[in-house]
């Protein structure tokens, strides 16, 4: 579009609306390393005591931050891996393979994609107790992966749909099996999709809060979201410096991924995800 000479009023309105967010971001960083005096907003001297949770227990009975971080990493990465694996095969089947009941599977996928999974959490809570997977990392990994699956299959199906048929036709003509065609010809074409899905499901697992809160409430299965929430809930003095330092630590992977893949992420999220 041609740049309009008078855009300052637009910038002004946008800036006014964006101010609260910018203030939150700026002070999120500042307060984690230098708390201002009460009643003032000017940061004082650099003070790293807010980060003490890294080298000592902030209070008794709380698991060490490193174990919690390890749990979070296992939870997020295993979930991402599972979702990507199952979506890669299921997406291909739905996109390219002729099989009985395909219309029903596709219809089911769209319904599941829109269906609000969080309403099922009470039943899932009881199912996990029956299965003996309650309060285990494995339990929340399986649940999270299953709940992310419709989204993953949807994304992967979209990527498969863009692969030209000619590539597969050529493979089949040359006498390769459908499996070999998929493995050697089609899969390399959807590598960007695989990467995107891995990243998005990792982020989703890393940020997940309600599932671990309900399905893995014990301290040995705590993840960073529930850890941070517990610290905030238990602290009567509202020590925002400490909370924000934990928040900074918690969001490092998110920020890094955001900075590196910002453009791709916006494209994917624009591709029609859950709100």
């Amino acid at each position: 579009m041609t740049a309009h000479p008078r855009i300052w009023h637009l910038v002004l309105i946008l800036s006014i609306f964006s101010t609260p967010l910018v203030i939150m971001y700026v002070y999120q960083v500042i307060d984690s390393i230098a708390s201002p005096d009460p009643g003032s907003l000017i940061p004082g001297e650099i003070d790293l005591s807010n980060w003490r949770f890294l080298w000592e227990r902030i209070d008794m009975g709380r698991p060490s931050i490193w174990m919690v971080t390890f749990n979070t990493f296992i939870f997020a990465s295993t979930t991402a891996f599972l979702v990507t694996l199952l979506s890669t095969t299921a997406g291909y089947a739905l996109s390219r393979l002729d099989m009985p009941g395909r219309p029903y599977f596709l219809g089911g996928l769209i319904i599941l994609h829109a269906f609000p999974t969080i309403t099922l959490i009470i039943a899932i809570f009881i199912i996990l107790q029956f299965l003996g997977l309650f309060d285990t990392l494995l339990g929340i990994i399986l649940v999270k992966a299953a709940l992310e699956l419709p989204f993953g299959v949807w994304i992967m199906k979209g990527f498969y749909d863009t692969v030209p048929w000619e590539i597969e036709m050529a493979g089949v003509q040359d006498g390769a099996s459908r499996f070999r065609v998929w493995w050697e010809l089609v899969l390399p074409q959807v590598k960007p999709g695989l990467a995107a899905l891995l990243i998005i499901s990792f982020l989703s697992g890393w940020s997940e809060f309600v599932l671990p809160l309900v399905l893995a409430p014990g301290s040995s299965t705590q993840v960073l979201s529930t850890y941070m929430n517990a610290v905030i809930q238990d602290d009567a003095s509202a020590d925002f410096g400490l909370f924000k330092a934990i928040g900074m630590f918690y969001s490092i992977p998110v920020i890094v991924i955001y900075l590196v893949f910002q453009k791709q992420l916006m494209n994917i999220y624009g591709g029609g995800t859950k709100g």
Partner: protein, 431 residues
Amino acid sequence: MTSRMLGIGFLSPAIISVCIFFLLPVLLTVVFAFTNMSTSTGIMGGDYRINTEQLRSLPDLDVSEATVERLETAGFQITEAGLTALADQFSKDTAEELREDYLGETFESRRDLERVLKDLDEPIRRTRDRKEAADLFAVTLIGERFGTEEEFRAALGTTGIDAVDHDVLTEFAYTGWTWTTDNFSLLMELPSTLRYAANTAFYVVATLTFNILFGLFLAISTFYLPGRLANTFRAIWFLPRILPPVLYVLMWNWFTWDNGFIATVMGWFGVPAKNWMMHTSTHAWTAIVLINGFVGASLGMILFSSAIKAIPTSMLYASEVDGANRWQQVRYIILPQMRWPILFMTSYQTLSLLTSFEYILLATDGGPGRSTEVWALAAFHTALNNYGGNLQYGFGAAYALVLVFIGIALSVAYLRFFNFKELLSKPRIEQ
């Protein structure tokens, strides 16, 4: 390998996990909604037992007084357990003598047993002690655990309780969950039901309106800005969507709480510090709509931005040549192209707002009072997290069932919004 076999093989892991974590939970939500499952009943079934506290509520069940008495003491029997207690509390010799002469014997009334205790070679001398000692041998159902209904009924029979009362007592004594429709009649009766429904309606409508209007504004305004500036604003507004909810809400807490940003700034003007999020229900609702709205607007911005980019630039140039001003361009060219994305956004967000409670849980937890408690949060509080400690899974499932029904109905309706025929185009290799 045929494509049919491959298809089934490729699909089955996904289908299995969908069955376990979608279909089964949907069915079980229906099932649980018709039970009184809770922490106290457990989920695995239960046993049969009446304890001392429950005894008092028995007359309300029209159980005869004789039965209550019989439950408490159904005679006396000299047992090893009783003898051990006797040896501990009174004398070993008395217990030993009683064991030799009377082990296994039963007495109809306390007086008979007391007489025996008095006539022993090593008697219990004081009347009060004898009474206490006799009580050690009382046969009673109270506090005893029975694994199955048969065992319990047999025990009722042997203690000589009137057969008329057996059914009532069996039902009363069962500690596990039972089938019931009480959850739904309770939902109909409780005034809070209407309250939560109204809260939910307000929350969905207000947040959705904010999301769409503000998302449109962000998308259109950043479209007219030069690249770098536009990207800066997009980056600012994309972050809420991608930050972990716990951290995002923490930033809001800092912004609004009584030692946070607003309170500090207002303090400079002499306004006493207060919690700007939780002060009144209006404050709480404003905070909730903004917290959710910023995230939703973030999604709206991304969706609408990519839709605007898809508009052919020639159309926009043509309109400029024709002398349309900026507003006319938005009104007559951009907005009409937004119809489909807005419809999509509305349908998806309606469903996700109806059922999501994460941000509300983190921000106000339904407070102050119950003023921001929405339906989904009520289900969560009832079944999974409440201060009373007795988690009512059955009642919570009844709450959730309403949402599950709405969810299924709406997502089936959305099938129509998608171009389903196009999705169904046959795979070409088989043709």
